[in-house]
Symmetry: C2
Subunit: 218 residues, 2 copies
């Protein structure tokens, strides 16, 4: 709330005051428009109204800025997923379907983050923070999987890690192939969210987690 940091950007003096944040915002805009490779350091600087050398005060190089965007993306992703999961309330299945919708909503509404996270080729060990943020996001999926699995009788429980990987793979597949803002490459008879929800229902049915605990009853 220090008003020095919140002052309007337009009439600025020699110092910008908030350049790092604004470079990240510019990068997000450029990635969203032209993909992760369409983003350039020089143009981000231009968008922030700053000389091309200025970004180097805040990021070692272009890669580091990209990794920072990916890290923030995973943090926002994790937050969105855990908000949707809401500790599995009111029951794990309802929460799980919210989770799926939240996954697609994130990919759809934040394509720049999503593509920095999964498509820009940023190695996960570009920084400790990135790795940690990515791990925390995945841990959320795994936790939800565990809660669902816990409903099954002890002898019939699949490994939670495997289930989490399946959930992630199908979500990512639907998001990448059909869930982009541009409508994807192929017209669908249903929305990406509906497609994922149906797929997840069938998958859960296959595990024996269904409306009646038995697939044949659906």
């Amino acid at each position: 709330m220090s008003w020095k940091r919140d002052r309007p950007e337009t009439p600025r003096g020699y110092h910008h005051g908030n350049l790092k944040e604004e470079l990240v915002k510019a990068a997000l805009g450029l990635i969203g428009e032209k993909g992760p490779n369409g983003f350039t350091f020089a143009e981000a600087a231009r968008m922030a109204g700053v000389s091309p050398a200025a970004p180097y005060r805040h990021f070692r190089d272009r890669e580091e800025l990209l990794a920072d965007v990916a890290t923030r993306g995973f943090q926002a992703f994790e937050a969105a997923l855990s908000r949707a999961w809401d500790q599995g309330r009111p029951d794990p299945e309802a929460a799980f379907h919210r989770l799926g919708r939240a996954y697609l909503a994130f990919a759809h509404d934040e394509p720049a983050y999503y593509s920095a996270m999964f498509e820009a080729g940023v190695p996960l060990d570009a920084s400790q923070e990135l790795r940690a943020a990515a791990d925390r996001a995945f841990a959320g999926l795994r936790q939800a999987s565990e809660a669902l699995i816990a409903q099954l009788p002890a002898g019939k429980r699949p490994p939670a890690l495997m289930m989490a990987l399946h959930v992630w793979a199908m979500s990512h597949g639907v998001a990448a192939l059909f869930g982009r803002a541009d409508g994807g490459r192929r017209p669908l008879p249903m929305s990406a969210a509906e497609l994922l929800e149906a797929g997840m229902l069938i998958y859960l049915q296959g595990l024996g987690i269904g409306r009646n605990g038995s697939p044949d009853a659906g």
Copy 2:
């Protein structure tokens, strides 16, 4: 078999004789190494031992070469899938699991094709041939889905299109997240192929297509 087209490349005269093919090969190599954006027209020309202006005799521009690579990729993909499916022999389930393995094998063994097809941002309507090749590949998945669905009693059959989209999404998700030659970004307790096979088994179980036709029996 015309020996004029098969003559060795090294000591060539003014005319190359096979430049188009060699440019495509060079592009595949570059994309495989550095991703679809790491590929440049100029470098492809250099690799083919030709001046930077030569490629323009065969491709309108860089985009057209990329689209050509994607088209060839879809053709090879379709061929690999339909070879694996083998008209559903000996039975649809066995054939279906071969199909899944073939999908992952293609993504793994032909990362350059796969990424030109799905990650390079080539619009599907860049050319008629591209669209047609992509459609034929997808039709293969759909056909397999139909054969499996046909085993269910009439009242319990899901739409084949939806099932095909689910299969595609999970396959792509597994391939994109875990199936790359570089081992992916995250160590797995099982191979990508095993992960996909397990996921597909659970999904089929959910549809009621299982070893005994009933999920609870597994």
